[in-house]
């Protein structure tokens, strides 16, 4: 039935006649929902997946794609709804059960053991045995065959740490395809691949399709989706927007479907374009591995947005500017050159960076609020060697008042605050160092709508006070709602700029995902 090398088939996946296969779905998801605590990440998704069909799932970051995949492949269990296969309703507790039923997920991240060989990784946890010992020779032979089939020349004896990222991805795919499966799910498989490697992967997927295997394909690269998908399903905010025949949609259509929605009155009114003189100038900045040759300016009283998919290099770019990552290039603040190799120098010069990782890099969760508040402004706040506790307490009282931080008492630890209040504390901390340029990475990640609106208002207030603001966000509506201008990054470069009426979600999405320039807003690719 298959030209794919099949190793220990245990026959648990029922063999169905080829004719039935074509009509009957491999897997049917009915009213699938998933909630994490009070947050609904996926609601009421119904979808049929047919054999021999490449079915693409697209959506913005946070639309629920990954959650959906995890539910299908047994990594998470739905809070409501059901999955059914040919014999009726199935329930997977753990990915092993899904794999026994013939469903496998190829992860986006590389999950291989660096110190083991390619062959050892392929068979990890399911080693072939002969006479009670591990049968290395057979495993190496089968690994070589499998990899050759996928077009990889990598040796089965090579250590995984010594092979390229693309080869690792192929090893991971080979591992998933080692058994015969009925549904293979690819989560952003081409994120780390380049030109030829992408082509090879796409041909592997077409080969799977020829073998009547169903393929679910998640990708941000709309051009690939357009080329190979038989069907395209769009998710938005955890809901299914629709399923369309692949060839009926242009990339523009897809972008529109991914984002189209009204902007709520969540955002403060934009100040009439009063952008003043240049505050921050970044010239030819590169952060090895993440961002290449980036040049841009931020003006006084301006909110500049940075859009792009996860992994486009936005966060790393600003970490480079802040001296938190090795970087090359020039940064000037109000005409004065800044040392980009020291976080202290950047903060002292007047750049504040609010990290996207509030809990991991922003706040000391085990500490009280006052030490957190003053941590990046210790010198400013406590000149000389000693600490001024009373000043610190006064500053905390002021910050609590000014940023409306809700708390039970001033003595709580930072970790005891809610996400929104932690974010406000973090904002207060960054602003205590009196920056003239404030960079806010994911200003509203994981916080509720009321706090969101407040944070937008605070950002607005900052630019009214004459500061310059940079907002990095994966939520396009947020950027469009508050920014005067948006730079879109893609694969470590600035793909384009949109402002004014061109600032629409599909223009941004298009720049972020494909080479096609939007309508007329090609912007300055500077």
């Amino acid at each position: 039935m298959s030209s794919v090398v099949s190793i220990h088939r245990d026959g648990r996946a029922p063999v169905v006649q080829a004719d039935d296969l074509a009509r009957q779905p491999v897997l049917r998801a009915e009213n699938l929902s998933k909630e994490y605590g009070p947050v609904t990440v996926l609601s009421d998704v119904t979808l049929d997946i047919h054999p021999g069909e490449i079915h693409a799932i697209i959506g913005e970051n946070g639309a629920g794609k990954s959650t959906f995949m995890r539910l299908l492949s047994g990594y998470a269990e739905p809070t409501a709804g059901s999955l059914s296969m040919d014999k009726g309703v199935v329930r997977f507790v753990g990915p092993e059960q899904a794999q026994q039923a013939g469903i496998v997920l190829v992860h986006q991240e590389i999950l291989l053991a660096d110190a083991l060989t390619v062959a050892e990784n392929l068979f990890l946890g399911r080693e072939l045995m002969r006479n009670g010992v591990v049968d290395d020779r057979t495993m190496r032979r089968l690994a070589a065959e499998k990899l050759a089939e996928l077009g990889s020349m990598v040796s089965p004896n090579a250590l995984v740490r010594n092979i390229s990222l693309a080869d690792r991805q192929l090893v991971q795919i080979a591992r998933a395809l080692l058994d015969d499966h009925r549904l293979v799910i690819f989560d952003e498989p081409t994120a780390v691949l380049t030109g030829d490697e992408v082509e090879r992967l796409l041909s592997i997927i077409l080969q799977l399709k020829a073998q009547k295997i169903a393929v679910l394909y998640i990708s941000h690269r709309l051009d690939e989706v357009q080329r190979i998908a038989d069907k395209v399903t769009v998710l938005r905010d955890g809901k299914l927007v629709g399923t369309h025949p692949g060839h009926s949609l242009s990339q523009l259509d897809m972008a529109r479907l991914m984002v189209g929605r009204d902007l709520a009155a969540l955002y403060p009114e934009k100040s009439p374009a009063a952008a003043g003189e240049r505050m921050l100038s970044v010239r030819n900045l590169s952060v090895p591995g993440f961002a290449k040759d980036i040049t841009f300016d931020v003006r006084k009283s301006e909110i500049l947005g940075f859009a792009g998919m996860i992994g486009a290099g936005r966060t790393e770019l600003f970490e480079g500017i802040m001296g938190l990552r090795p970087a090359t290039g020039e940064v000037e603040l109000e005409g004065k050159s800044i040392n980009i190799h020291s976080a202290r120098a950047a903060i002292d010069a007047g750049i504040g960076y609010l990290t996207e990782d509030r809990k991991g890099k922003g706040l000391l969760l085990q500490e009280r609020l006052a030490p957190n508040l003053t941590l990046s402004a210790l010198q400013r706040f406590h000149p000389g060697l000693l600490m001024r506790r009373r000043r610190e307490q006064t500053a905390l009282t002021q910050a609590v008042d000014q940023y409306d931080i809700r708390l039970k008492s001033l003595g709580v630890k930072a970790g005891q605050l809610s996400g929104g209040n932690q974010q406000k504390l973090l904002l207060a901390k960054i602003l205590l160092a009196a920056p003239s340029v404030v960079v806010i990475d994911e200003p509203t990640r994981g916080i509720d709508i009321a706090n969101k609106a407040q944070i937008y208002a605070f950002i607005q207030r900052l630019v009214m006070e004459g500061k310059a603001c940079v907002v990095i966000s994966s939520e396009m509506q947020e950027l469009i709602g508050i920014c005067d201008r948006i730079l879109v990054m893609r694969e470590g470069r600035i793909a384009g700029e949109v402002s004014g009426d061109e600032m629409t979600e599909h223009n941004v999405a298009l720049l972020a995902t494909s080479d096609v320039a939007p309508g007329k807003g090609e912007g300055g690719n500077r």
Binding site: L364, P371, L375, L385, L386, T397, K408, S409
Partner: protein, 330 residues
């Protein structure tokens, strides 16, 4: 639950959130004294307690330094052999200068000791921070180096202090002020200075931040390298102070001076309430920890329950139990 809203003024109030880590060591200390009294009433005599606490002074002083290192997220295994090395250098320097300088060789030697201690600590710190080598490995290496140096310097034997200096130097260990042995006063002074640095100065704040979460500290513009290197240098200075007190006790340095002190020092810090993975340091807890260790050793000698040869074994058991408590109380 009262929620304070933006419009309500909040009174700056002093919070007294005292956790187990703050009081635990002192509770244990009192419990130990009670047990000791039950086992042998002599245990609580002023002479015995004075002796025990005096003996614990070396470990207490070094452990106060280790509180900085551990609080900042580091570890120093080299303290015992560093103490032996500094003792050796100090005695050799004093002996060389004694014929010319007479008794003033002693204070000069003390200055040399502190300088050597700072340098040794700085070296450890730079290897760990600039060299980016795991503190465990880096200080395991320097532990071997210092131990080899003292063995080499003493030719495998002893380096005794010059007879002419012995009497003048004696009071540093055996002397008292107002009836309190000098080593106890010195260790209290060291702890006072240390708690001032750790709790009243900016450096203490940085130290705890670096140990609690390196990333948060880095993103707040705090230099990890500087903060941690200073902690190692403070450790070196503390080792030197301990060495200065130690010289008159035996009047010599030998290749076995300070053997296994690192175990006692780290145990004292951990049972004192400072988390081994870094974060807030507990200076006075550390001092209590050092006294607890010496009391247990003393109790073993006085009680005849357990052979005193097993002292290090008991200390090993204590550090493991303390770590288990830290792990499971989270």
């Amino acid at each position: 639950m009262t929620v304070i809203t933006g419009s309500t003024p909040v009174k700056p109030e002093r919070e007294w959130n005292i956790g187990w880590a703050d009081v635990g060591p002192f509770v244990a200390l009192i419990a130990l004294l009670a047990i000791g009294f039950a086992v042998n009433p002599d245990f609580l005599s002023a002479t015995n307690l004075g002796n025990v606490i005096t003996r614990s002074a070396f470990i207490a002083i070094i452990a106060v330094g280790a509180t900085f290192v551990i609080s900042s997220g580091g570890l120093d295994l080299s303290v015992g052999s560093m103490a032996a090395f500094i003792t050796g250098i100090t005695i050799m320097f004093m002996n060389r200068m004694a014929p010319d300088w007479g008794v003033s060789a002693i204070p000069a030697g003390m200055v040399v000791a502190i300088a050597v201690g700072l340098l040794c600590g700085l070296m450890n710190g730079i290897i760990v921070t600039v060299g980016k080598i795991e503190p465990f490995i880096a200080t395991l290496g320097t532990m071997g180096i210092f131990r080899a140096l003292i063995t080499y310097m003493s030719d495998g034997g002893t380096i005794p202090i010059d007879r002419t200096l012995r009497d003048a130097y004696r009071p540093v260990y055996f002397g008292t002020i107002a009836g309190i042995p000098l080593p106890i006063l010195i260790s209290i002074a060291v702890a006072v200075v240390a708690s001032f640095i750790l709790y009243k100065m900016k450096y203490g704040r940085k130290c705890a931040a670096v140990g609690a979460n390196e990333d948060v500290a880095r993103y707040s513009g705090i230099s990890i390298i500087k903060t941690r290197t200073i902690a190692y240098a403070i450790q070196g200075a503390c080792v030197a102070i301990a060495a200065i007190c130690y010289v008159p006790r035996l009047g010599a340095a030998t290749p076995t001076t300070g053997v296994l002190w690192e175990l006692q020092v780290i145990t004292a810090v951990v049972i004192g309430g400072t988390a081994l993975r870094g974060g807030k340091g507990h200076v006075w807890g550390t001092v209590a920890g050092a006294v607890i260790l010496e009391l247990i050793a003393n109790l073993m000698v006085l009680s005849d329950f357990v052979s005193e040869y097993l002292v290090a074994g008991v200390q090993g058991v204590i550090i493991i139990i303390a770590m288990l408590i830290q792990r499971f109380s989270k």
